[in-house]
């Protein structure tokens, strides 16, 4: 014979006690255990209130075709120099030495962002000249779009000197972001969208390396060329040029930004609720 449900209703059971009983005490303890441990747990775990968070993005880096090159050509400090800034070239006078430069930027994975730059500078030298040290500044534009739109003009600084006269300086490194403070989580940030070298200035102080690097290091967000070790090749044939060959990659960066208080509140509530549920179930 099949059985079927005819009717159902919930039953309410009431447990009553007077105030000064063990049951009241138990009830109070359970109540305390339900609310206090979640708070303690969330407070004591260090991630209660997050101030910083990170995200990952490959920057949009474009070579600005700004180059400043100074090479020492004797142990007495004679030098030749060249830049893409006409005002500086005018200042240099007889020390101006125009090299042949080739630049190629490649988007390897076809994602619309350039991944690396190949730079080659061939500095013609007279047979009496030898290169002992090189200063090279390359200007880039560096943009991030994921959280805040951050646009800046940055530089890669390459410096190497050697007691031995060289024929080739080979650099292969990453253009890394250097953050002293977190970026905004939204909005447009063009604080540092100014040229690293003020090429419109006719004054020599604008091209002084201590000024350029000093002003650049003042920035809270900048880029630095991280190259494990330079390759300095010696042995240059007479009348052959000194070559600077550089491969500069634009890697994906981990960027810190301030975690928003609203999300913090949300996370904390979630956290406390979870703990509450856990302890509630334990109390039961």
């Amino acid at each position: 014979m099949a059985i079927y449900e005819v009717y159902s209703h919930p039953a309410l059971l009431r447990y009553k006690t007077s105030i000064c009983t063990k049951a009241t005490l138990f009830l109070l303890i359970v109540l305390g255990l339900t609310y206090i441990p979640p708070l303690l747990v969330t407070y004591k775990s260090q991630g209660f209130w997050i101030k910083l968070s990170t995200y990952e993005e490959q920057p949009v880096v474009k070579f600005q075709y700004q180059i400043l090159m100074i090479a020492t050509t004797s142990i007495n400090g004679d030098y030749v120099a060249w830049s893409t800034f006409q005002n500086l070239n005018n200042l240099l006078g007889d020390s101006l030495r125009i090299p042949s430069v080739s630049v190629m930027e490649v988007d390897k994975n076809q994602d619309g962002k350039y991944d690396e730059m190949t730079f080659k500078l061939q500095l013609p030298l007279q047979s009496t000249e030898q290169v002992y040290s090189v200063n090279l500044i390359l200007g880039f534009s560096y943009s991030l779009f994921r959280m805040s739109t951050f646009v800046m003009q940055s530089m890669a600084y390459i410096q190497h000197s050697s007691p031995l006269p060289g024929s080739l300086l080979y650099v292969n490194g990453d253009l890394k972001l250097q953050q002293r403070q977190p970026l905004n989580h939204r909005g447009l940030d063009t604080r540092y969208n100014v040229s690293v070298i003020n090429g419109s200035s006719p004054f020599a102080s604008a091209y002084d390396l201590t000024n350029i690097i000093g002003n650049y290091q003042e920035r809270n967000v900048s880029t630095v060329l991280s190259w494990p070790s330079p390759l300095w090749m010696t042995g240059r044939a007479a009348n052959s040029p000194f070559v600077i060959s550089a491969v500069i990659r634009y890697p994906v960066e981990i960027i810190t930004y301030p975690f928003q208080n609203f999300f913090n509140l949300f996370v904390c509530m979630l956290y406390a609720t979870c703990c509450y549920v856990l302890f509630k179930s334990l109390a039961k």
């Binding site: 400090g77 006409q86 006078g93 076809q110 994602d111 534009s141 004054f203 020599a204 002084d208 994906v252």
Partner: protein, 655 residues
């Protein structure tokens, strides 16, 4: 390189299209959303939709499973490594890289990053624009249609009518296969995003007689990816869009849209365009009738050598030190940058423009410096009598310009009224020579005295000090950098032979300097002690120091007397001071938001020798600034007293 996902730019179209077609085909979204309510439900709902879609997708995949599927499973894990290989060696076509590993038959993930370009044969390309174009006609009339037949594509075939080594798909190779060691291109596919497609696979096989033999097969490849494209409704979404054909009309806008920074010769034109205004403006280059046309002041550009072309900007005070190297024998008389004439022998235009009147550069003073650094003022006669000359068989060059100091007086209309130059000429026997240059602009009929702070001292500015003259207040040196000075270390380490140069004490900058004293006999102790004291404190050490950076000389109460403490040990017959320590105690004064530095005391401590005077002694002077500010104390106002009185008739009817 790391981010192998296709960009939004290129892939947006077909993602939307393919997914959209499948979603609308199933029609499940509307069903689920109907039962959803609230935010959480919406999230769950979306999650459910995705899961549903994934199930759907796997069904599609299963339907297309072929016998080759068993080889496909483990390719996902090698994604990044393969991508890296591809990035370093792959030509920009969606073709498997030249890995020698037996990746044959497998669906290599190498080609996944590239979706579109495989459809274009490398031999095709786009025809170049003819150099002569009739106006209003497009530069490119028609574009060739891309080839999509994988069996006819061969990206490694780079030599026409000749066999490319290790290029297994090269139609020009026949007998040469015997020489191959591997296939640089192992498979050719059309689009890596498709779930199922035809692929041309090339491999080498060793024949029984030991030679290599090429094997080429056409197979159907199955993509194991969840998100592969099953059916492509929008074929154009998988290839690049047709570019806008440049014409004479839209050329400029296209350049503006697509141009990127590049090498340009645009900046070669001279940027100094002479303005014809009635007066100079801030930063304008000052025009002269010299060869250069502008007033220049040598300055270092990028290193320590002098660049002679550095211009002087109107109202821009400049100060620079740089080195000049020349051959003493040959260049002494020829080099213009060491010749006094090139700094004084021209005239300045009062206002920009050649029509304005000229102002002579007045030679205010010429100082001559000897080889040992002694300076003497020369009676100014004429710049031409100070031309450099070679002495002592070309080993010494005299009257070399060492310092140039221009003072240019201007009116409030921007007109240059007067220009003066002070020059230091020296005798030089070694190069490089350091030259220092300065230009200062002074407004006419004004006398400005710079202060070291307003009111509190600013870090890096000199301390103001002077001596009290009864009745006339404090008397200071006119040079504010010369009021309180300490010894400067020099290349001559002997204390008794130090040159007169001293270092100014700058606010907030701690210093140490010293010299050495070699004692042979201490016959005249008091004389030695006096000499060392003179080295330590200089010729006239001040008595008072200003407590604020702008303390007035007549206001004596604003000045702090300098204390002197001497720690002497009486056990020796001869006591000479070995060190001078200036301890400046300063405090922050005023409000917390804008504290001002105030000097509260300056103590000079002399320490005399505590041992017998023997051998070489070190004489040193130090300057130390001590912040003695009291910490800000929390203070509270007394609680307000409530002075409330009830009206006298408040309890009227009762009391």
């Amino acid at each position: 390189m790391y981010n192998n996902k296709p960009s939004r730019l290129f892939s947006g179209d077909f993602y939307c299209d393919t997914f959209g077609s499948q979603n609308t085909g199933s029609g499940f979204i509307s069903l689920d959303t109907a039962s959803c309510g609230g935010v959480m439900d919406l999230i769950l709902c979306l999650l459910g939709s995705v899961l549903f879609f994934l199930n759907l997708k796997s069904v599609f995949s299963e339907l297309n499973t072929t016998a080759t599927e068993s080889q496909l499973s483990s390719n996902e894990s090698s994604w990044d490594e393969d991508a890296a290989t591809q990035n370093s060696s792959l030509p920009p076509f969606g073709v498997t890289a030249a890995t020698e590993e037996p990746a044959f038959g497998s669906y290599s993930t190498d080609a996944w990053a590239t979706e579109a370009p495989i459809t274009v044969s490398p031999s095709l390309g786009f025809p170049r624009a003819a150099p002569t174009v009739t106006p209003s006609q497009p530069l490119i009339s028609s574009l060739q249609t891309p080839v999509t037949d994988v069996s006819s594509l061969c990206p490694c075939n780079l030599l026409e009518n000749q066999c490319d080594v290790n290029c297994c798909c090269d139609p020009g190779c026949a007998e040469e296969f015997a020489l191959f060691t591997g296939c640089s291109v192992q498979q050719v596919i059309t689009d890596s995003m498709l779930c199922s497609q035809t692929a041309a696979i090339y491999s080498l096989n060793m024949t029984v007689n030991g030679t290599m033999q090429r094997i080429s097969t056409l197979t159907n490849l199955i993509n194991p990816d969840f998100f592969c494209i099953q059916t492509n409704n929008n074929a154009a979404g998988l290839s690049f869009g047709t570019p806008e054909i440049p014409t004479n009309g839209n050329f400029d806008t296209l350049v503006k849209t697509f141009s990127r920074p590049s090498f340009s010769s645009a900046g070669t034109a001279s940027s100094t365009s002479p303005s014809q205004a009635s007066g100079y403006k801030y930063g304008d280059l000052i025009q002269t009738n010299s060869i250069k046309g502008i007033l220049t002041l040598p300055a270092p550009a990028g290193n320590s050598w002098c660049s002679n072309g550095n211009p002087v900007g109107f109202l821009q005070n400049q100060q620079a030190q740089c080195n000049v190297k020349f051959n003493l024998a040959t260049d002494c008389t020829n080099l213009s940058s060491v010749n006094i004439a090139s700094y004084s022998n021209f005239q300045i235009f009062q206002t920009p423009g050649a029509a304005s009147s000229l102002v002579n550069i007045t030679l205010r003073s010429v100082t001559l410096q000897s080889l040992d650094g002694m300076r003497s003022q020369s009676s100014v006669t004429n710049a031409s009598s100070f031309a450099p000359s070679v002495l002592q068989n070309g080993t010494v060059c005299s009257k070399v310009v060492l310092q140039v100091n221009y003072v240019i007086t201007y009116s409030e209309a921007g007109v240059i009224m007067n220009a003066e130059v002070s020059i230091v000429l020296g005798v030089v026997n070694a190069t490089p020579v350091q030259q220092s240059f300065q230009v200062t602009f002074v407004q006419v009929k004004t006398t400005s005295t710079p202060v070291s702070g307003n009111p509190g001292y600013i870090n890096g500015l000199p301390l103001l000090a002077g001596s009290l003259i009864a009745g006339s207040g404090i008397v200071q040196s006119t040079n504010r950098f010369g009021q309180l000075m300490v010894m400067k270390s020099s290349s001559v380490q002997d204390c008794l032979a130090l040159p007169g140069e001293r270092l100014p004490v700058l606010f907030g900058i701690n210093m140490v300097s010293g010299c050495s004293l070699r004692i042979n006999n201490i016959s005249n102790c008091s004389l030695l002690s006096e000499q060392i004291l003179g080295v330590l404190i200089g010729s006239n050490f001040p008595d008072y120091v200003a407590s604020f950076g702008n303390s007035q000389a007549q206001n004596v109460l604003d000045w702090v007397q300098i204390n002197t403490v001497t720690t002497a040990s009486s056990s020796f017959s001869c006591n000479i001071p070995l060190s001078l320590d200036l301890v400046i105690q300063w405090t922050k004064y005023g409000s917390l938001v804008n504290p001002q530095a105030q000097i509260v005391s300056l103590t000079r401590k002399f320490t005399t020798n505590s041992t017998a005077l023997q051998g070489t002694l070190q004489i040193s002077s130090t300057v130390s600034f001590v912040d003695v500010s009291a910490a800000a104390q929390p203070g509270y106002k007394a609680p307000p007293t409530i002075d409330a009185k009830l009206p006298f008739d408040f309890f009227f009817p009762f009391v």
